[in-house]
Structure formats: C-alpha cells, structure tokens
C-alpha cells in the first residue's frame, strides 16, 4: 500500500466537492422534520452542523450541540441499507405474447454512491449484509451491483448516544479498516485516515496538511472517550442463553409490551428480509415482480396454507431477538447485532434489547413456592 495514511483537512466542504467532481453522488445525514435522515447532498452546507441527536428508549430528539462541530450527531434514523438493498426493487418484467411470455430484467442502475459520514457500526452492518446478500460475489444481484458502486467516508464517533453499545460487539466507536476514508473531528480540523487506493486518490484532490503524531493520538483518545460513554451492553452469554431458552417466561413479558409494529426490523441496519409482490396491468399482459422489505413481525411472513406459523407476538418477538443475537452466529459466524441501538430508540414502547437479552440470559426464577399447606 503506497498511499499516505493520514492528513488533516479543515472542513468536509472540499471533500464533498471533490467527491462530486469525481462523479460520486454523495449521500450524507441531513436534518429533516426533526430527525436525521440520509439524503443526496450537493454541498457540506447541508450537513447537520452543530446539531446532536439525543436518543433514549422510545425517543430521539435533535438539539443544538457544540456550535461549529460537523459530526457530533450519531446515527441517522434510516440506515444505509436502503441505498444498497432498496425497500422496493423491480426484479423483472414479463410480457405475455402469443406463445407464452418473455422475461426481462430492468436495465441496471449504476449510480456511484459515496456514503459520507457513515459510522463504524453502520460500516460493520454492511459487512454483515455482504455475508447475507452477496456471499457468491459474482452473482448478478441488485445488492452486489450497488455494492460495487459504493465508496465509504467513515466518521469515527466523538460522541455516543445513550442507546449506543458498539463496544460490546466491537464494531465501534472506531473503524480500523474496510473504509476508503475515515474522518475524526479534532479541535484543529478533520484527521483523515486513508483505507484504500481509491480513498488516497480522493485525498490527493483536497487541500490538506500533514498530520502529526499528536493528532493521531488525539483521535484515538476521542475514540476511547466515546467508548467510555457507553452504558449499555449485551451479556456475553446472550447468544447461548437465548438459543437454549425458547420457553423462558421473559418472552411473555416482552410480548405483553411489544406492539409487533416492525419498527425495529425497519431501522435495524442488518435486517434483510424481503417479500415479493406480483403485479399485472389492466390488460393482464404485462406482469412485474417486485422485491420489497418485509419483517418477521408481520403475520404473513410465516404463512403456510393453514395460516401463519408464528401467530403469537411472543413467537415473533422471539424470532427477531433469537435471529439477531443467537442463530445469526450459526448462519454467518457473527452476531446479527452491531450495537447501533436504533431498535431501542425507535421502539414506540421503548423495549431495550440489551435488557431483554439480560433477562433471558439470567436463569428463569423458579415458580413461586406454594403458600399455606
């Protein structure tokens, strides 16, 4: 690797401009209707500068933070997965002819997307999705196509939200590799770490100066401080405990609170499940097949001809938590949870999966001793 590993830039503005010049569509967090969301930006002016998100179970507020800080916020509500694994995607069209039908895939979209401000945990989430949706890397799927056209500019976190717990799974608050560029916001500017030749090429186009050892040390100190801000954690025994406890009474407690709204699977950056929809036009001669996001909280998800397999909310909550924290290991050798805390913040009743896992990892208390006698 012949690229220079570190540099300092004053602001993300030239970076956004350079990315755009190089043909990248820049996707970044912006503030819309009281929430951080991802959108294509034209300039760094659109970034939520000086704003921070305050997340707690069932609630996220956006407030003023330290003025002038570019990246003190943490996570956008909608994760990055929608740009790689879109909520609705046309798989193919079929046209009826005299002698049957013909199938056509839509022309592939080849937009080059630069993810600016993606956090270490969300970068890890993409690695998780790669294992699910792109294991045979040469298969010509929409996900792989989009994945090949993606560049990442990570922001190393200088603040953790109340709901963050990336230190447990080890997905943050610092990304060590897997990015093209990574930024840490220091007092004197942005420290740029280069992670790829492509990233080096972008950095070359920017006005930058050399980073000193002390700048790099400061960046690491920031990461350590951010890690120290985190209070939640998943019990290390969660995976084994959950896999062994399909009848734990805590599932009933959770089911009594859970609304089965599916918000958690929607905001979770690793949830990948999909349904398909078949449509025809009025003539009945033109059919389409769409792939659409789905959730294991939907009853139709487990439908077989007698009805859904998972009718109770209990069984659906159990599927979600068991898949995220336990069976994902069997399937892909990692946890399905990268510790972003979105499902905690966006749960309308504030269910905290770390607390749920904790309760299930605790041995079920024996049923109360009969009184009297």
């Amino acid at each position: 690797m012949a690229f220079q590993a570190h540099a300092i830039i004053d602001s993300p503005a030239p970076l956004v401009a350079a990315l755009k010049d190089a043909g990248w569509k820049v996707i970044a967090p912006v503030e819309r209707d009281g929430a951080l969301v991802l959108a294509a930006i034209q300039s760094a002016e659109e970034l939520p500068r000086g704003r921070v998100d305050r997340a707690s179970p069932g609630e996220v507020r956006i407030e003023d933070g330290r003025p002038g800080r570019w990246f003190d916020h943490t996570l956008p509500a909608s994760g990055w997965k929608r740009w790689l694994h879109p909520p609705r995607h046309l798989l193919w069209r079929a046209n009826r002819g005299r002698d049957g039908f013909e199938l056509k895939t839509p022309p592939p979209e080849t937009e080059d997307l630069a993810f600016l401000g993606i956090r270490p945990c969300d970068l890890a989430a993409i690695a998780r999705l790669d294992a699910v949706l792109g294991p045979d890397g040469s298969a010509d799927t929409e996900y792989m196509r989009r994945r090949r056209h993606m560049l990442s500019v990570v922001v190393q976190c200088a603040r953790a939200a109340d709901t963050c717990f990336c230190t447990g799974p080890g997905t943050g608050p610092r990304a060590e590799h897997g990015f093209d560029l990574a930024l840490t916001e220091l007092e004197i500017g942005l420290l740029v770490e280069v992670g790829s030749e492509r990233g080096a090429g972008i950095l070359e186009r920017l006005p930058s100066r050399e980073a000193r050892e002390t700048d790099i040390e400061e960046a690491h100190a920031i990461s350590r401080k951010t890690a120290g801000m985190q209070r939640r954690r998943l019990p290390p025994s969660a995976a084994a405990a959950i896999a062994q406890a399909p009848d734990h009474p805590e599932w009933d407690q959770l089911a009594a609170r859970c609304l089965a709204c599916g918000n958690c699977t929607l905001v979770c950056p690793t949830c990948f499940c999909t349904d398909v929809e078949d449509t025809t036009d009025l003539s009945g001669d033109h059919a389409e097949r769409w792939q659409v996001w789905d959730s294991c909280f939907a009853t139709g998800f487990s439908f077989v001809h007698e009805g859904p397999v998972r009718t109770s909310v209990r069984s659906r909550y159990r599927q979600w938590l068991t898949h995220k924290l336990a069976t994902w290991y069997d399937q892909y050798g990692t946890s399905g949870c990268i510790g972003c805390g979105r499902c905690i913040a966006w749960c309308p009743v504030g269910i905290d999966l770390t607390a749920a896992a904790e309760a299930i990892a605790r041995p079920a208390s024996p049923s109360p001793a009969p009184t009297g006698g």
């Binding site: 798989l91 193919w92 079929a94 009826r96 002698d99 049957g100 039908f101 013909e102 199938l103 895939t105 699910v132 949706l133 045979d136 040469s138 298969a139 010509d140 799927t141 399909p246 009848d247 990948f272 499940c273 999909t274 349904d275 398909v276 078949d278 449509t279 025809t280 009945g284 059919a287 097949r289 792939q291 789905d294 294991c296 998800f301 487990s302 439908f303 077989v304 001809h305 397999v309 998972r310 009718t311 109770s312 209990r314 069984s315 599927q319 068991t322 898949h323 069976t327 069997d330 399937q331």
Partner: protein
C-alpha cells in the same frame, strides 16, 4: 475475469408438455425448458414455479431423476398460485427457478434397509427417491414404503404404487384415516404401521425418509427413534414459507437453518428438539 453468474431471481421459461389429474385439486405437470438446458436434480429437491402475473410457489420435483426429457411436479391447489399452476394445460408456459435445497441422501445408505414413510402429498418429494432406489435395488438390503392418506381416493399415484407393490424386493404398506366401501386395507395413522414396516430388520441398519404433514413426521420420527433407528438415519422434509429459495429473503428460517438451502431435507437428530418448539 469471471463472467457474472446469471440473476438467481430470474426464472427460466418452461412449457407444460403433459398434464395429469391425480385426484380432485391435484395435478401433475411434465415440463420442458424453452431455451435452457434441462437442469439436473437430486431426489428431494424443489423448484420455484411461477404462474404468469400471479406468483411463485415452492414445488418439489416428483419425477424420475433418470428421466432427462422432462421434469415432473405434482401440485395441490390450496391458493392462488398453486391453483393457477395446477391448471396450466399442455402448451402453456410457466417460469422455473431451481433446483434448490438438500436432497434425500440415498447414495450414502448402501447395504441398509430403506424405509420410506409418506403422508398424503408427501409421497411427491419421495417419489424420485423411490424410483432411484428401485432402479438400483441391489445396493440396498430392502425397500419398504409406508403410505398414508386421508381416504382411499386420496392415495397419490395409486396405480404406480400398486406397480411398486408387485415388484420383488419392495414392500408397500398402505393405510387411510377413513375407509370407504371398497377399502380392504388398514385404517388409522401411519405410525401404527411402523412396527410392521420395520419387521425383522435390525433397526440400527434402517434408513428412513419421511415426508408428510409436520405432525405426522414428528410422531413418525419419534416412534422410529424409539424403535432404535438412529436419529442421524431418519430424514424429514420440512416446509416453511419461501420467497427466494437462495437464502436471501429470510422467510424460511427455522431456528438456525434456512430451509430453502440447509433443508428442506434434514436429519432427525439435528431437528428433534426444534420440532417440539411451538411456533418456531
């Protein structure tokens, strides 16, 4: 540079060349590819069949694995897709993706007693295995089929099963839940025939392939295991909702397994505990 593989979600076009009404609401279709080569399959695998504008359904391959001229499927009408598929007449077209999934590991059972246990339409995915076993009979110590159905008229492939019963080296035991006037055979559930099916064989040397409603498979596998058939020599074919068949849509998850890829055929010792968990 390697060429990209074809899109795994795009079906191949197949044409129905023959259609046969098995019983009311159940039809078998013989299919040939319009432009692709005939895919090879192993007994127990399934395809995703697409009915134009309506949708896709997972359907087991039920024909002879040595017949390369066409691909057979037996479809029961239970909803929109299966109804549309089962009613496609010769000359009609459908989409096909596959074959997918784990197969009945027949070839690894040389020298053993093979026991096939089918409930209702469960005979369809077992049929390719039975046809293969009959063709290579000398590899195995014996062949037995236990076949259950709700009623005599719902016995799938009735004439063919009669033919198998007449073959030397193959025992066929049949039972129905409800008899009719013409039925002289047994009445009850398939598990009541397992003792007779195991007969004098050392249960340690029996390999069982079971397909039918989940509850039937659960009790059959349990009883076989109690009788001494090793859990790792009993295979079941499980069914869950499937949309992609390539391990990507998440629908068919059953504990750690994606049934479309790791299943549908799984050994009993791997799944016994899971079979007992409700709403998994």
């Amino acid at each position: 540079m390697t060429l990209p593989l074809p899109d795994p979600m795009l079906p191949m076009r197949f044409r129905v060349v023959e259609r046969f009404d098995e019983q009311p609401g159940v039809a078998s279709l013989a299919l040939v590819p319009v432009e692709d080569a005939m895919p090879l399959f192993r007994p127990g695998q399934f395809n995703m069949l697409y009915a134009f504008g309506i949708g896709e359904a997972a359907i087991s391959i039920s024909g002879d694995p040595h017949e390369h001229g066409w691909m057979v499927h037996t479809i029961r009408e239970v909803g929109a897709v299966s109804r549309a598929l089962a009613r496609i007449h010769p000359g009609g077209m459908l989409g096909l993706r596959g074959p997918f999934g784990a197969h009945w590991p027949l070839r690894r059972q040389s020298g053993r007693h093979l026991l096939f246990v089918a409930g209702g339409l469960g005979l369809a995915p077992l049929r390719p295995a039975i046809l293969q076993a009959l063709r290579e009979k000398t590899r195995y110590a014996s062949l037995t089929l236990v076949c259950g159905a709700r009623a005599p008229e719902q016995m799938l492939y009735r004439d063919e099963v009669d033919g198998w019963a007449r073959q030397p080296g193959m025992d066929v035991l049949r039972i129905v839940d409800h008899a009719n006037a013409g039925w002289t055979g047994r009445v009850g559930v398939v598990t009541t025939l397992l003792g007779a099916a195991l007969g004098p064989h050392d249960p340690e040397s029996v390999s069982a392939f079971v397909c039918g409603p989940e509850i039937m498979m659960r009790f059959t596998a349990r009883d076989l295991a109690i009788a001494g058939v090793p859990g790792g020599r009993i295979w079941l074919s499980l069914e869950r909702n499937m949309k992609c068949a390539i391990g990507r849509c998440g629908r068919c998850q059953w504990g750690p397994d994606f049934l479309c890829r790791d299943g549908p055929v799984l050994p009993y010792d791997r799944v016994a505990r899971r079979l007992a968990i409700k709403e998994l």
